[in-house]
């Protein structure tokens, strides 16, 4: 089979050079596809059509709905209720607010699925509270940033939908039959790693809190506790609609996300009533701003993926990686190191779209790794990148919310990088952590 090395060089080098020259990633993908398309005599109408076809996918509709749901939750005072709920459960422990910080990210992540939304909404409540109680700025900000990354792993998460979409593309690019990864299984697969990450952070926070003598939180009366529980449960029910609905098979992921938006809308505007109904206009517009990034990326990545496939890049990458080592465990380590480095310099969604078609054929199609296990490992690697310099979006938002420099925020993150790395290694090498829940609740018939 003839390899068009000029075409491959054009496609990869234009993309790489422009990324380094600060051109937005979406347009790096698009322009490298356009130039390579011209070289390969692909009509440019076809490139434009591939971009449009890339987003014409019913399952992708879950992404805008999850984003709208997160925006509604951000707007309607849910963050404060989640903080109260977490405080009720763990606030009385030593370093109560640090525990609350981890716990509320676990809850909020289970609703919004976005690390940045988590840092900006919960961070603006918890960080000032922690500072007021004498916690170090760096610790408060670092913990908020790292714990927010659970939101990407704990379902529902729109990044899981992007991964499921990328798997479909990857299997086709590899020349095989269309492989569909169950969104329900991905959701279930994310719980144990997300909770494991939370537990490791709770342990590290507890050790730091005891050593630095951080205070315990206040207790609640039974009546107060019941009010907080009921208020928070209303919000938490959103996650149940999405995850429960998909797993039981009542909804597809898209329908579940649409229903969850309607539910969140009713709870926010008619039960909590902290924002006027007209604010929904702003919510739609804010969602559109996030979608501008995500959906454009998917469209551009489709064109790029089409040319990757035409130039047989996934097959060549598989051959290259297997020529380094065919030991499964070493290959996993190699992929983890590569993803951690890439995660530090690029954002999550583009990396899911770029790396899945390249790594999926090696690890899943050749080495037999489960696509759900691979997906969770990929997301976990990339979510670490959200809180590492130089381009971690959660790190930037966290340092802005906490009003400290990025350098200081990064220093605060260091103890929690350890917990994230431990979780990553456990999830990578013990597939049962990810796969037990999906296999138990959604067994292959």
């Amino acid at each position: 089979m003839i390899v068009d090395s000029i075409g491959i060089t054009l496609l990869l080098s234009i993309f790489g050079v422009l990324v380094l020259l600060r051109v937005p990633i979406t347009f790096c993908l698009a322009i490298s596809a356009i130039i390579t398309g011209i070289y390969l005599n692909v009509p440019l109408e076809a490139i434009v059509k591939v971009m449009a076809d890339g987003v014409m996918n019913f399952s992708l509709l879950a992404i805008p709905f999850f984003i709208i749901m997160g925006e509604i939750m951000n707007e309607g005072g849910i963050a404060q209720r989640i903080v109260n709920l977490a405080n009720l459960f763990v606030g009385r422990l030593p370093g109560g607010l640090a525990m609350v910080n981890v716990m509320d990210s676990m809850f909020f992540g289970g609703i919004s699925g976005s690390a940045v939304a988590d840092v900006s909404s919960l961070g603006s409540i918890v960080i000032p509270m922690m500072k007021k109680q004498g916690y170090d700025d760096e610790f408060a900000v670092g913990l908020t940033i790292c714990s927010a990354c659970q939101g990407v792993i704990i379902p529902p998460s729109h990044n899981m939908i992007i991964y499921a979409f990328a798997v479909g593309t990857a299997s086709q690019l590899a020349g095989g039959q269309l492989l569909v990864v169950s969104v329900g299984k991905l959701f279930l697969g994310g719980y144990a790693p997300g909770i494991l990450m939370g537990i490791t952070m709770l342990i590290i926070s507890l050790i730091i809190a005891i050593r630095r003598k951080y205070p315990r939180g206040k207790g609640y009366t039974l009546r107060e506790g019941l009010v907080i529980l009921l208020d928070g449960a209303l919000a938490m029910f959103t996650a149940l609609i999405v995850v429960g609905g998909v797993i039981i098979g009542i909804f597809t992921a898209t329908e579940a996300a649409a229903f969850a938006v309607i539910y969140a809308f009713i709870v926010t505007f008619f039960i909590y009533r902290e924002a006027p109904l007209i604010r929904f206009v702003k919510i739609l517009y804010s969602s559109l701003k996030t979608l501008a990034i995500v959906m454009s990326l998917i469209a551009a990545a489709s064109a790029y993926g089409y040319l990757l496939s035409r130039l047989q890049v996934p097959r060549l990458t598989t051959e290259f990686l297997l020529s380094i080592t065919d030991n499964y465990y070493l290959l996993l380590l190699l992929v983890n190191i590569m993803l951690l480095i890439l995660g530090c310099i690029m954002d999550m969604a583009p990396l899911i779209l770029i790396c899945t078609p390249i790594l999926f054929p090696v690890l899943v199609l050749k080495m037999g790794m489960d696509p759900v296990h691979f997906g969770i490992m990929l997301l976990l690697n990339l979510c670490i990148g959200l809180c590492t310099p130089p381009v971690g979006s959660a790190l930037f938002v966290g340092s802005a919310v906490g009003k400290i420099s990025i350098e200081r925020a990064s220093r605060g993150c260091i103890p929690f990088y350890i917990s994230m790395f431990i979780t990553l290694m456990l999830v990578t090498y013990i597939p049962a952590i990810t796969m037990t829940l999906p296999n138990l609740l959604m067994p292959v018939k």
Partner: protein, 171 residues
């Protein structure tokens, strides 16, 4: 000055259109689930209209909005203390790339529509070109905004934020 006003108005209308597409999708998908479970019936055209027409519409419209508001993510590895001329060159390069992409979307989007003119989408009986109708518009807006930025013409990038972000805000 007048051109800037016209383009701001087009952006404003396209943001409203994209928001309507989003909201409409939400309504028809939820209605479809309710109809399917409670009345054993559904909206036959729901999936095709949502994924093929509305999805492309808000994706490409939001892409243009993203260019206007400079939302698209990039990797910034250039040190903060780099000389000003490097920053200027990189800025111009970015808008040059954007202008090329805007042109491709505009010109080849029109060619794509002309190529399938007269074909009918399977369900419902609407022109197939409807799926791609917003691509040239998005391309045109991207081309305009990037050329303006390339030549350093002030074009009021925060216009949309001023219009939408403060709606219903507590005074």
């Amino acid at each position: 000055m007048k051109i800037r006003g016209v383009f701001n108005a087009i952006h404003f209308i396209s943001a409203i259109l994209a928001s309507i597409c989003l909201a409409f999708q939400l309504v028809i998908i939820s209605t479809n689930v309710i109809m399917r479970y409670f009345f054993a019936s559904g909206i036959s055209w729901m999936e095709e209209i949502s994924s093929n027409v509305l999805m492309t519409a808000f994706t490409f419209l939001s892409m243009a909005i993203g260019v206007k508001l400079d939302l698209h993510i990039n990797v910034n590895l250039i040190p903060k203390r780099a000389p000003q001329w490097i920053t200027t060159v990189l800025y111009k390069l970015k808008y040059l790339v954007l202008a090329v992409i805007g042109f491709v979307l505009f010109y080849y989007g029109i060619l794509l529509i002309m190529g399938i003119k007269g074909s009918i989408a399977s369900l419902p009986s609407l022109p197939a070109s409807l799926q791609f109708i917003v691509i040239p518009l998005a391309g045109f807006l991207i081309l305009f905004d990037s050329i303006m930025s390339l030549f350093g013409v002030v074009k009021d990038d925060q216009y949309l934020d001023r219009k939408f972000m403060t709606v219903g805000e507590k005074k």
